[in-house]
């Protein structure tokens, strides 16, 4: 069933593409360059995103982004400019997602760090309070009159 529906889908896609070619707006040389530049710009941005993701929480998203950029490049090579624009739009959204997730991860790391700090502080408070109680007990024991 799936194979059959996939075939139907491909037929639909091919039909759509042909319609696009036949009825779509013809691409200009400037537009191609612009799309190429956008792809390259986004590719360069991926490395920055990868570097920013210190906690490696967006590895999968980055991989998909790279895949989609390759797809966009491939589509550009095939002069499928509308599809390139669509993929690039998705890539921009994916990059934004990666940035937000990275930021969230960083904040989460801060939360974890602060929680750990707070745990340490509370443990220290507990130990200090225990030491205080022990000291007070010793002091009281010393203050008791010896009979």
């Amino acid at each position: 069933m799936t194979t059959r529906w996939s075939r139907l889908g491909r037929i639909t896609m091919v039909t759509g593409a042909l319609a696009g070619v036949l009825y779509g707006r013809p691409a200009t040389a400037g537009e191609e360059d612009d799309l190429q530049a956008q792809i390259e710009t986004q590719r360069a941005g991926v490395s920055d995103l990868d570097r920013l993701d210190e906690a490696r929480t967006t590895t999968e998203e980055i991989t998909m982004l790279r895949t989609w950029l390759d797809e966009a490049w491939s589509l550009r090579s095939k002069h499928e400019y509308d599809q390139v624009r669509e993929v690039l739009d998705r890539c921009r959204s994916q990059a934004e997602l990666i940035r937000q997730k990275t930021s969230a991860a960083k904040l989460r790391a801060q939360v974890q760090k602060r929680e750990a700090t707070l745990r340490d502080l509370r443990a220290k408070i507990d130990s200090t309070r225990k030491a205080l109680q022990d000291t007070q007990v010793k002091k009281r024991a010393l203050e008791e009159p010896t009979t």
Binding site: S93, L97, L107, Q110, R114
Partner: protein
């Protein structure tokens, strides 16, 4: 044959039905729907309403495309919807994390403040404990010092007490020894060594023994010996005193008698003699020729002699004086005795006139000796006289 026809018809019907049926939902759309069930979507919709709305719109579109069998478009739109919804969730998570960070910061500040307070309390408690421990140590040390000082003081007090007792004993011993020495010297004053030789000798021996015991350090023994010596010495003095006083009196009387004799002998014109009658003695001053024959009144020119006699009598006032008149024997005895009495009275009166106490003097007459021989005649011549007799004690 019939079965084959039925199967063929069913196959054709199935194919027709399959061609007209909805294809399976794209995985991306299912993923979005799963994502949409996330509990954080509501917060994400509040924070990023545009993103969530876009995502929902794209998902709806993807659903329609799926229903229209436009699977590729459906997949792309569902994917895009997922990306936007995930982005909205990430932004919402950031807000939550920021809020959490703020909360944690506040809690951390509170905890740090609490820790500072508890740490300060602990430091104070430790300092107090340290001070208490130091105080305890100081108290123990002080108690030990006090105990040691008490022991030392007790030892010193015992030493001082022993020294005091020793000094007291020594003082008492010396006092007893001094008392014994004083008693012995007192006994010496009455010549107890002479008149009470035995107790005196015992006292002297005991005193020597006491001195020897003091040198040997036997103070108790020395006290006893000194006490015995004192008692012996006092006893000796007591025994010796009457004999000593009697001897002393005798000596004094003899000396006075001798002085009286010397003074009497020094008076010119008188004869002095000592007469012994038994144990008693008396000094007799014989004065002749104070009276003319048959006269009882004193003749002229005898005043110096009478003055000397009165001075002598007054010089020795303890002697009783007896004035004795004597006459010669020729005549009547009664007349002679009366004349002797009168002459003795005249002398007594003359002496009284010169300051001699009349109560000391007695007056008497002595009868004249009788006989006719020459010796008697000489005796009669000497008998015409007055005698002043000092009666010895």
């Amino acid at each position: 044959m019939i079965n084959q026809r039925i199967n063929l018809r069913l196959l054709v019907a199935g194919l027709c039905l399959g061609a007209c049926a909805t294809p399976p939902k794209p995985r991306e759309l299912e993923m979005y729907e799963g994502l949409r069930k996330n509990a954080g979507v509501a917060d994400a919709a509040k924070k990023s309403p545009d993103l969530v709305a876009n995502a929902d719109r794209l998902a709806s579109k993807a659903g329609e495309e799926w229903q229209s069998n436009d699977l590729e478009e459906s997949r792309r739109d569902a994917l895009m919807a997922s990306i936007k919804l995930k982005t909205a969730l990430a932004i919402s998570e950031q807000d939550q994390m920021k809020a959490r960070i703020q909360l944690l910061s506040n809690q951390q500040a509170d905890a740090e403040e609490e820790l500072a307070t508890v740490t300060k309390d602990l430091a104070s408690a430790k300092e107090a404990l340290d001070l208490r421990q130091k105080l305890g140590a100081a108290q123990k040390s002080a108690a030990a010092d006090r105990e040691r000082l008490s022991q030392e003081m007790s030892s010193e007090q015992q030493k001082a007490q022993a020294e005091k007792q020793k000094l007291s004993l020594q003082l008492a011993t010396e006092q007893k020894l001094a008392a014994a020495q004083l008693a012995l010297r007192t006994a010496d004053t009455v010549e107890a060594n002479r008149y009470a030789a035995a107790p005196y000798s015992a006292a002297a021996d005991m005193l020597k023994k006491a001195e020897a015991e003091i040198k040997a350090g036997d103070l108790n023994g020395a006290q006893v010996s000194a006490e015995v010596a004192r008692q012996h010495a006092e006893r000796a003095a007591e025994l010796a005193k009457p004999a000593y006083e009697q001897a002393e009196q005798t000596t004094q009387n003899r000396a006075r008698d001798e002085a009286l004799q010397r003074d009497a002998t020094a008076i010119p014109g008188v004869a002095v003699r000592i007469e012994r009658i038994g144990d008693s003695q008396r000094l007799v001053i014989s004065v002749q020729d104070l009276f003319n024959k048959k006269e009882t009144s004193l003749g002229a020119g005898h005043e110096p002699l009478l003055d000397s006699l009165a001075v002598l009598i007054n010089k020795y006032p303890t002697y009783p004086i007896h004035v004795l008149g004597r006459t010669e024997s020729r005549g009547k005895p009664g007349e002679l005795l009366a004349m002797s009495q009168a002459r003795a009275q005249s002398v007594s009166t003359a002496l009284a006139a010169r300051g001699v106490d009349p109560r000391r003097m007695t007056v008497s007459a002595d009868p004249a000796p009788s006989g006719d021989s020459k010796a008697m005649a000489a005796a009669r011549s000497r008998s015409n006289r007055v005698e002043i007799v000092f009666l010895y004690h």
